[in-house]
Symmetry: C2
Subunit: 383 residues, 2 copies
């Protein structure tokens, strides 16, 4: 059901011809109100794609009527012409939808450094507008795929209101945010300030902790739109929990579909002095190529976990560190623990626990193994 | 000629049986004086192997008579027993050489988290001592190999004095230092303070800028021993230049032999506001898995260079960035530059220039591409 699970939204996904292979490549999501509140979170990469610069700007009003998303090109590092193209896309959507361009966010994904084929994209916006439907959420989710093998959607329904969404992302997955486009919708009746807070609280512990390959994109965008069509205003905590649940689910789907991955690795850091320490250690472990190769080889090589922890500034004593892999404490007090042959690593999910023995804080980072297929997917052609 | 190129040094390399395959695994380097000045630089990883903890301690005197090095086991994360084993190794060397254990540095390399077979290592020290020779430098260099495909040595001879050395290292190569053991010797007549300064000045711009896979070891050690046997005291600048030349040569050899690599990538950052900025940007580019895959695929994917630059805190404006790959300025002013089809990437060495247009400082980081062979070497068995 995706972005049209919540009342008040229509969506469409079509093939505009941006992708040379003819696959769907243009999605449109429209908020039909009565409210048009919105919030967004964007990549912290300082090299930002034109659509990110545009959407950050239009979101300052806290209002969005529509989102245009294209795959087949990131429109990043494309200079003033790239920004003009994003502006023209918003203008075209505004024209066919009868709203202002300043109420239209734009998201793009694909290869960096290539201009979009505007002669195909602009007619595509009109085609998509004509195809808008209350059942269009799934087609929209399909149209934003790049190297994704499956489309990703999630829905949470509470007492009279709903949060739903779609995501794309399979490579260049790293925090700040993960590399992805996400559109969330809700029919709850909330203002943009509330949406903004709930979205930031949710992304901080979900998408920001998905780190498939340590690479941060120029295009990451997560949008949350509220139509108010349910006529219900939930309490903040209840709403924030629903948004977090949808973000968490979509984040897990990103990890499970990461390029070339054969393992999903949950890195849980416990007993840290601070949450920041826990996140720093988790990221360091998640980004260690040698460990990621070892996990691919089903080798519980805890020495690589310790060497990754050792590069951080977190509070810990080396001879108090403990590491468990799939429930077996292979490292105790910084040295050899239980027999590593006891570790069963046959399944896709691998659970690493790093115990810093320095406090009571915790954080979980999700990552993937490093595989020959990842190398192939990212070396055989430009993406 | 390796560590015995300089007068006053003997060395040996033997098979002690630490490696199960019977390959050479124990090296001994002895300074026969008249001087026994020494300096060392060690990993900045906070999880340090027992031999690193030991050698840091003994080097506080600024004096070394000998270095025992073993491959076949890192003696890292091995607790109090591991430290006792390192101590026993130094005691054994002291006994057979007739010096104090506090004048013996110990270096180990291999798998983390496994105790060394002391019943083989200690007799091996005696065997190595009996084999010491003024021509033993090459055998010593061979005995410290792990996944290295070739042994690495370098010699610079100046007016009446020499600096020579050996290195091992092929994986877990990242700054602070690169993952490696290096022993340098000189017959110049210099005190330990001068050696220390020259060594730190050299490693900062050589080994510290070799970043093959972003992973920092628990065992990195670089030692510089001076015998004074040449009876010559060169000026500081002249000596420092020679040490830097040997370190630079050995660092290049590490990159050329990095595990699974098919490309050696020179990342040159120019026009940075500060040298620190240049190093930060260089490291970010060098550690970007997606870029490293693209280079493997001979794809001049400059968008991945820009997205890596964008994650740093260096001073730059996105729309003033320029990137050249093998001499072709494929990115100009943050956007599309010269035709990427002009880039010839058929050869092993790839040269990336990132122009930050923010100042006059520069730094060069060396790295490798990311290949299926790297994944295989680091997933098929524990190392």
């Amino acid at each position: 059901m995706s972005v049209t699970a919540a009342k008040g939204f229509t969506a469409a996904g079509i093939a505009a011809g941006i992708k040379e292979n003819g696959n769907p490549d243009l999605a449109l999501v429209v908020n039909n109100g009565p409210r048009r509140a919105a919030a967004g979170v964007f990549t912290s990469n300082r090299v930002k794609a034109a659509p990110v610069l545009w959407s950050e700007q239009v979101l300052k009003s806290g209002q969005l009527s529509a989102v245009v998303l294209n795959s087949g090109g990131a429109n990043a590092c494309t200079g003033p012409k790239g920004f003009q193209d994003t502006h023209a896309t918003a203008e075209k959507a505004a024209e066919v939808l009868g709203c202002g361009a300043g109420e239209v966010a734009v998201c793009s994904t694909g290869l960096i450094g290539v201009l979009l084929p505007m002669d195909k994209l602009l007619p595509g916006v009109a085609t998509a507008a004509a195809a808008l439907s209350e059942h269009g959420g799934e087609k929209a989710a399909i149209a934003i795929k790049t190297t994704d093998t499956v489309h990703k959607t999630s829905v949470v329904t509470r007492d009279g209101w709903t949060v739903g969404g779609m995501a794309k992302g399979a490579g260049m997955l790293a925090p700040g945010l993960a590399t992805m486009l996400v559109v969330l919708t809700t029919d709850a009746d909330l203002d943009s300030a509330t949406l903004d807070k709930a979205l930031r609280d949710a992304t901080k512990v979900t998408f920001d902790r998905v780190d498939s390959d340590g690479c941060m994109s120029t295009n990451d965008t997560v949008l949350l739109l509220a139509s108010g069509a349910a006529g219900v205003t939930p309490g903040y905590d209840e709403f924030a929990e629903a948004v977090r649940a949808v973000c968490d689910d979509l984040g897990q789907q990103l990890i499970r579909d990461a390029e070339g991955a054969s393992k999903d690795i949950k890195v849980e850091v416990i007993n840290a002095a601070t949450e920041d320490d826990a996140v720093e250690v988790g990221r360091s472990i998640a980004r260690n190529n040698l460990l990621k190769c070892a996990i691919h080889g089903e080798d519980p090589n805890w020495g690589r976990v310790l060497s990754a922890i050792g590069t951080t500034s977190a509070a810990f004593e080396p001879d108090r560190l403990n590491v468990a892999i799939n429930g077996v404490w292979v490292c105790r007090d910084g040295g050899v623990g239980e027999d590593r042959d006891l570790v069963d690593m046959r399944y896709r999910e691998v659970h690493i626990v790093a115990d810093l023995a320095a406090g009571e804080q915790t954080a979980t980072i999700w990552t993937n193994d490093l595989t020959a297929d990842y190398v192939h997917e990212n070396s055989a052609y430009s993406s």
